[in-house]
């Protein structure tokens, strides 16, 4: 997996850590002096693990059927495509009838829809949201911006190929794809999951160092632990 976004300056001077994230001594209300290190105290740094499939194929197929028919999407819009997701909740398209629901917290979501261009600043949040989701989890790239940069191809601040930073299970091409295309993408994703090929989370865990290197290459002010759930 080669990083194609070589337009970014990669050998930059290091950005200093934000003040509130630096390790320091704090005096508690009862006069005690304690050391705090926000990056270590509030997050876990354990690497993601590769989770094996269920032992029996029948059980795994049954689970995959359930996963496909209960897709919970993280309500997180990154670009213009977020507006294309809204009609899916309305009477005209109504994605709920396919078992697709929106959840407000990454902990309960299975599908992260990167809905359009992803600026470096948003990439940081997308990574954090993705890593907090429980396995197995799926990523869907919406619009040509996530495939090759699209109209943001020579932007100084937008990533071009989403697959370099997060493992993408399904792309929906277009600029922007209409809600019908998005629905078709969901159906295709369901097929992929049912076939047991939606193993993006394990791919992420296996190639963790590569993904992290790619992410750090573009995110210059990396002010979080390497893995933060």
């Amino acid at each position: 997996m080669k990083d194609v976004d070589d337009k970014f300056r990669k050998t930059d001077t290091e950005v200093p850590l934000r003040e509130e994230l630096r390790p320091r001594k704090v005096t508690t209300p009862d006069g005690q002096e304690i050391d705090i290190d926000p990056l270590r105290d509030y997050f876990c740094e354990a690497k993601p693990k590769v989770h094996p499939k269920a032992y029996s194929k029948i059980v795994e197929d049954f689970y995959n059927w359930a996963r496909a028919n209960s897709l919970w999407i993280l309500g997180f819009g990154t670009g213009c495509g977020a507006i294309e997701m809204r009609p899916l909740m309305t009477p005209r398209f109504d994605a709920y009838r396919y078992g697709i629901q929106w959840r407000p917290t990454p902990r309960q979501a299975n599908l992260l829809v990167i809905s359009g261009y992803l600026s470096v600043k948003t990439l940081k949040r997308a990574i954090r949201a993705y890593e907090q989701m429980p396995q197995p989890k799926y990523v869907m790239g919406l619009g040509s911006c996530t495939i090759n940069g699209g109209m943001y191809w020579d932007s100084y601040n937008t990533i071009k190929r989403l697959d370099d930073y997060l493992p993408v299970d399904m792309y929906v091409a277009g600029c922007m794809p209409r809600p019908e295309a998005l629905l078709h993408g969901f159906m295709e994703l369901k097929r992929v999951i049912r076939e047991g090929k939606g193993e993006g989370a394990n791919k992420y865990a296996e190639n963790f160092d590569q993904y992290k290197a790619n992410q750090k290459a573009v995110i210059k002010d990396w002010d979080m632990p390497d893995y933060n759930w």
């Binding site: 693990k49 989770h51 269920a54 049954f62 689970y63 359930a66 996963r67 028919n69 209960s70 919970w72 309500g75 309305t90 009477p91 109504d94 709920y96 009838r97 078992g99 629901q101 959840r103 407000p104 917290t105 902990r107 309960q108 299975n110 429980p134 396995q135 197995p136 989370a201 759930w229």
Partner: protein, 305 residues
């Protein structure tokens, strides 16, 4: 077996059967209610079996993260509240199978179990460390405590009226005619308790604890996979168990599963219908509502009994 003179081992199997039926009923009924909501909005809506698929999916998730012992116990307590509530009240009146473990003082225990889940959830959500959980749970506790007031007063009025704390006897006293229901013999207590009923069903206007779009989604923010599956089970079981209490106390109980299904559905729809036409109360507004309307009604019910 001198301590429990009427106990027989087969009652455990009967009670588990009740639990099984009620959970499945709740699963389908909540989905049907959501489907009705969708149809009113012009949508097709979720399939009626969607709750089962969601539950299975959450159990099938591979990675689970615990934030500590209380985080783990939170959903367990919550489900204990739901199961306990159902286990200690008679579900079907006159049926030997679905009497569960009802006994002479079960009304007091039921009042306790109504509150139990919220307390357990407070411990669990507190330890999950997410600010939205803490905000949601403190709002929920304040609101449930206030809603308890009219409920407790209504229930005391009822036990004064019937001279017993035994739910089976209260149901027995309401048999015969629809006009024997507490709804008609003691309307004040019924209205006071129904204020509490609507207030604790987690629906608008009293959904400030979960508050979708505001503190998405409150106490369960950090809960996922099996933890969430436990809470989902309780989410379908607890409202039905609570409605069973109300049905027994105020609406003549049920003598068959068909009667049970219809009465519980109608009672559940009261909170749904009120929910869809009223916007959300802020927490101080809902507390004020219970103190202003629920509490005087409850006091009045006690005085006039």
């Amino acid at each position: 077996m001198t301590a429990f003179p009427n106990f027989e081992w087969v009652q455990i199997a009967y009670a588990l059967l009740t639990l099984f039926i009620v959970i499945n009923y709740g699963m389908v009924m909540t989905a049907v209610v959501r489907k009705i909501g969708a149809r009113v909005g012009g949508r097709y809506g979720i399939p009626v079996w969607q709750n089962y698929v969601d539950l299975l999916k959450n159990i099938a998730l591979r990675s689970k993260i615990s934030h500590g012992v209380m985080y783990y116990l939170g959903p367990v307590f919550r489900l204990t509240g739901g199961v306990g509530l159902l286990m200690f009240v008679p579900t079907i009146y006159g049926s030997e199978w679905h009497q569960n473990f009802s006994y002479a003082g079960d009304l007091i225990l039921a009042l306790y179990f109504v509150f139990f889940g919220t307390l357990g959830m407070a411990l669990g959500a507190g330890e999950s460390g997410h600010p939205h959980s803490a905000i949601g749970v403190s709002r929920g506790l304040a609101q449930v405590t206030m809603a308890e007031l009219p409920l407790a007063l209504g229930v005391y009025a009822l036990s004064l009226q019937y001279g017993t704390l035994d739910i089976t006897k209260i149901v027995a006293a309401q048999q015969g005619s629809i006009f024997n229901w507490t709804l008609f013999t003691n309307p004040l207590a019924t209205v006071a308790a129904m204020v509490a009923f609507v207030g604790t069903m987690m629906r608008s206007p009293f959904d400030v604890a979960m508050a979708p779009q505001e503190i998405p989604i409150g106490p369960p923010t950090e809960y996922h996979s099996s933890y969430l599956a436990l809470m989902q089970t309780n989410r379908v079981l607890f409202p039905v168990a609570k409605t069973v209490i109300y049905m027994n106390l105020f609406f003549g109980g049920a003598t068959s599963w068909a009667e049970f299904a219809i009465k519980v559905f109608c009672l559940y729809m009261i909170s749904v219908v009120i929910g869809v036409v009223h916007p959300r109360f802020r927490v101080e507004q809902s507390i004020r509502f219970f103190l202003k309307w629920g509490l005087p009604l409850g006091v009045l019910a006690i005085l006039t009994v």
